[in-house]
């Protein structure tokens, strides 16, 4: 008796969970697919489904020099911010990863706080400080601001990689006579490298995509890609932006696939 009741209950429970999960996964992936499909429209508007298909808006995109210029700026700032984040973040992660003292916990919260605090408020405050000390907004202020909001990803992923590092390996290396720097270069670094790369990847993507900090810290000459797209979208629904979105989605998926191969990104973010 009871086993039959339980079976029905188990089936209803699993059905609800699986159906909800499927709906959720569709909601997650649908917007990207919709943009990809719409970007190949032959018409002038963003109707779905499109009246016909062509690559004309991608050709249009090829000639949109303003977007190229903005993309180049975003790329350069993201490269510098990521580089700075790796140097500062990995060193900090080494210091705080394995020591459970109060000061390391305080530092950890400090380094993680840009993840939860409103980036727009930070952007405004940084602009105020830079204007107070007489540092004009430029690519340099952009890189500094982006590094603050991107370095948490490098710290977090490096700390996670260090936490999984077997202390016995370091002890054996030391017992066998290796110096600390040799052990670091030959044992620690190779083992935590995937974690650093995964963190740097996320830092790069979030810098490339940053609007709230860039809004305040860029100068008139530094047009950033996401800001340009946002401003274009506020005015009208431009199909060229759909094509650009298509390029960005394809690039993101390709980079994710490469990162999955190189670092096991999916396992890294769930353990």
């Amino acid at each position: 008796m009871s086993s039959r009741k339980r079976t029905w209950e188990a089936v209803s429970f699993e059905a609800v969970m699986i159906v909800t999960a499927m709906v959720a996964l569709v909601i997650i992936i649908a917007p990207s697919l919709v943009v990809l499909i719409v970007s190949f429209t032959s018409g002038y508007s963003l109707k779905f489904p499109p009246p016909g298909y062509s690559a004309r808006w991608y050709v249009e995109l090829w000639n949109a020099w303003q977007l190229h210029f903005a993309a180049r700026n975003s790329f350069i700032v993201a490269m510098w911010s990521t580089g700075l984040s790796i140097v500062l973040g990995v060193a900090a992660a080494l210091a705080i990863a394995r020591s459970p003292t109060l000061s390391t916990r305080v530092l950890d919260s400090l380094f993680m706080s840009p993840l939860v605090l409103p980036a727009l408020a930070f952007g405004l405050s940084a602009l105020m400080l830079f204007s107070l000390v007489g540092l004009p907004v430029s690519a340099l202020t952009l890189v500094i601001g982006h590094t603050v909001v991107c370095v948490p990803y490098v710290v977090r992923n490096t700390v996670a990689a260090l936490a999984q590092l077997e202390p016995a390996l370091l002890e054996s290396s030391a017992i066998l006579g290796a110096s600390r720097s040799y052990t670091f270069r030959r044992i620690v670094l190779p083992l935590i490298r995937p974690g650093i790369i995964a963190g740097a990847f996320i830092a790069f993507m979030s810098s490339f995509d940053n609007v709230p900090v860039s809004l305040f810290l860029r100068d008139a000459a530094t047009d950033m890609l996401p800001i340009r797209m946002w401003q274009d979208l506020e005015g009208k629904l431009d199909v060229t932006i759909a094509a650009l979105s298509g390029v960005l989605i394809i690039a993101t998926v390709a980079l994710m696939a490469i990162m999955e191969r190189a670092t096991g990104l999916s396992k890294r973010l769930t353990s």
């Binding site: 209950e9 649908a30 943009v35 900090a92 530092l107 409103p118 408020a121 290396s173 797209m229 506020e234």
Partner: protein, 288 residues
Amino acid sequence: MMAAASAPRDVTSYGIGLAAPLALFFLAFFVAPLVQLFILSLHNDAAGAIWGIGQYVHFLTDPFSLSVLGSTLLLGAEVTALCLVLGFPIAWLYHRVGSRTQTLIILIVLLPLLTSVVVRTFAWIVILGRQGIINSTLLSIGAIDTPIRLLYTQFGVVVALAQVQMPLMTLPLITVLGRIDMNLEDASCSLGAGSWRTFWKVVLPLSLPGVIAGCTLTYAAAITAFITQSLVGGGQMLFMPMYLYQQASTLQNWPFAGAISIIFLFAVLAVVTVFGMLGRLSRGYGEA
């Protein structure tokens, strides 16, 4: 274990000095700006010459400002609730499929996190707009006669934000569900509890640390999501980030923008702290 760990500590850990460069960088470019912002907010006039708490009094006695704060906090709660309801089943499913499907699920969940936020938001405009997919589908099956308004509504903003913030909820849930001993579920079932009861009484309480971590990140991200709020919400719906941006950029009222920022920061911190306290309680509950 402690005795073994104390002797070789030197080789397995690194000096705290390695954190100094980043700590100094944060002091100069993160802490100092926020302090400076706070100081500026303590000025009554736009030029920043007269000291006082006038900006805070202005905000806290102004029904309009308070309604912006209230609707922002409510928005965060709605997005977090939707993310939890949709994200939990994904995390649950993740631990019941093969490893290839697991990777696929993670990559799907990660996609919005890594795709440009403008692109994601843009997609929702295409979906929710007057000529969008939902309206054209409903029109073609005859469910409605004229397009319904989805864009520039609270509903639209909540759904779009939930999709954008979903990874922040799902990833901690996947992690925490992976740490729950499967035998506990089997034990519960063999002792006669049904699947639903096992879920409510065993799985959900044990996963509370992940639920709380996910809720904290989702809530903070949802209320600070400037781009999605402004594009899907449109001009009619004003939330704290846009309010801050308008005061700072368009009206150049920096002290008031500073006060808005500080109030907003404290609102976020309060929510994070409350969730953090719940988290500590839930860990005690999970161990009991």
